[in-house]
């Protein structure tokens, strides 16, 4: 150890080599391979990858109507899921951070986290049963067939349920950092609740909401299991990737499809960067 002690650069290298290796090889390397292989094609018979540069995959993506439709649908689902999560998470997080007692706050955080401990699949299948013909939701709405059934709406509902904790937690963390004294000062200076919310709480809240939205948005864009379970015949980007890898063994085309959410998320991140959301992650 004393050798390391005398060589700070070596010490630093030893400390950082594992994460750097991970970042460069496993993470950036995989991403690069993904991007590169998107330009390859597959031999239709042997299933072997043909390593020759070709724009065929992207041409298919751009010219076939169905890929545009699926992309727009996925974007719509991601936006709707994010919106639902924001509407539910803001009051919830505000209550947790500012209203509840310190003791119950503790339990509330645990309560928000518990769903994350259960398997994603179990939760999705539970929703499948809830939404079934003649199931609990149908009964609540007055009989078989009155509920939403399986489809796009069910997909949004289930995804919003699954990702809600990822929205509550960053907003809660943001609000917790907001000192109560600021709210009191605002009130002392004569601001009403609305004004306080607009001038004091919102500037703190918005970066947190964007931070949470990065989670809900990207998780929704990449999801394919919940859609398969409750989506009826709906297909999203994730399903297309899965179909091309799982069934057709067409890794290059799947890679090309997978660049769509990457591009969308890059655009989204650049857009929300200015709000300071990335510091809230």
């Amino acid at each position: 150890m004393s050798y390391l002690h005398r060589h700070p650069r070596l010490r630093l290298a030893a400390l950082l080599s594992a994460p750097l290796l991970w970042l460069v090889v496993a993470y950036l390397g995989a991403l690069t391979v993904l991007l590169v292989s998107a330009f390859w094609t597959v031999n239709g018979f042997t299933g072997g990858v043909v390593r020759e540069f070709s724009l065929a995959n992207f041409r298919t993506l751009l010219t076939e109507e169905v890929y545009r439709a699926v992309t727009l649908r996925s974007l719509g689902v991601a936006a709707a899921v994010t919106a639902i999560c924001v509407v539910l998470a803001v009051p919830m997080a505000f209550f947790m951070a500012k209203v509840a007692s310190a003791r119950s706050r503790h339990w509330l955080v645990i309560a928000i986290l518990t769903p994350l401990w259960a398997s994603y699949l179990v939760k999705a299948y539970a929703w499948r049963i809830l939404l079934a013909n003649g199931g609990p939701i149908d009964t609540l709405l007055g009989g078989p067939g009155n509920g939403p059934g399986y489809g796009l709406f069910a997909t949004i509902l289930v995804l919003a349920y699954l990702w809600l904790p990822y929205m509550i937690l960053p907003i809660y963390a943001g609000l917790e950092r907001l000192p109560d004294s600021l709210l009191e000062a605002s009130a002392d200076l004569g601001a009403r609740a609305g004004r306080t919310l607009r001038a004091v709480v919102l500037p703190i809240l918005i970066p947190s909401i964007f931070a949470g939205s990065i989670f809900t948005f990207s998780l929704s864009l990449g999801d394919y299991i919940a859609v398969q379970i409750v989506g009826g015949k709906t297909q999203l980007i994730g399903n297309l990737v899965y179909a091309n890898i799982g069934a057709a063994n067409n890794l290059p085309f799947a890679a090309a499809i997978a660049t769509i959410p990457v591009v969308i998320m890059v655009i989204y991140l650049v857009a929300v960067r200015r709000s300071g959301a990335l510091e809230e992650l």
Partner: protein
Amino acid sequence: MRDSGKTIMAALAAGMLALAGCGGGGDSGGTGSGPGGMPVPKVDKLTALGAGEGAVNVVSWAGYVEDGSTDKSVDWVTPFEKETGCQVNNKVAATSDEMVTLMKTGDYDVVSASGDASLRLIYGGDVAPVNTDLVANYKDIFDGLKNKTWNSVDGVAYGVPHGRGANLLMYRTDTVKPAPTSWGAVFDPNSPYRGKITAYDSPIYIADAALYLMKTQPDLGIKNPYALDDKQFQASVDLLKEQNKMIGEYWSDYTKEVQAFKSGNSVIGTSWQVIANLTKADKTPVEAILPSEGATGWSDTWMISSKAKHPNCGYLWMNHIVSPKANAQVAEWFGEAPANKLSCGETTDKNHCTTFHAEDESYFDQVWYWTTPLARCVDGRTDVTCKDYSAWTQAWTTIKG
């Protein structure tokens, strides 16, 4: 920080090199004797059986290789290991493509390939012809399964048949009246069951539409639902796009379908016999029939790797898995028609073979087993190009919209 840029580049370059080095496409040109003139790689078959090597590496479908770890009462591996001294190392594959990929590594000796993978393995040179004289139980296998297009080339057997099943038309008997007899029930645009129709979620389902068109629109000239030229393919895709408007959901795992029929979200659609049995066991009134047009289906074959490190144990395994007792156990556990004629006397449920039509060749004469669609038409036509499986996959995406 100046160096880190170089490091990243070096690491990326290394990654790319590693990637470029592995695997390999390979051309498939030439004029051989296979379907559409494909040449078959020359691989010698085993001439004589020697002593077991002490182990056998298996790639299989879930449920095919049970050693009692899933369910204590389900075990046909331990007796084999005791008898032959061949330790069974099993790898479950989720898809046919995974099977093909695993077999290309050369680390495995035998595989339970389905018809949509077997030709790729044969023409890829990944599996060897099977010397059926060395498989004692081969003689008791149903003739309807031997030397078929998916497990033999030019009369040379490339595997030992394992079992088979048909993709049936299942319906709720309490809602679907009158009882359907034709696939038309799931393709009729004016179906009263709109929104409650289900279909199998895989590109291979395009063959179901082609089969229907083969019988209802003979002028399209479809002779084999897996060999579709542009016009025939387009007609099948159009039919499925129309059907999509009436589909409630597509199914791919059987628990999902059992639940959908139980709740009534689906009332009619494609199914397997095992799903029909499970649904009935759930007290749901369903019936599964083989419609008048026939049906698509599947048949699995045990094949041996051309690079097998344990060929003798591999042969012993193939012989064991189609032995009357073991084949009966697999067939009952998995829910399929066994390949061995004598298995029917070994099943615990004496009606098993009747339920799964194991001995009914006229039943399976109407079944078109899954086959990989190739650009060189599998029905032997050479004047047209057929749509290959990747085209089927992309079309399936379009169909689902």
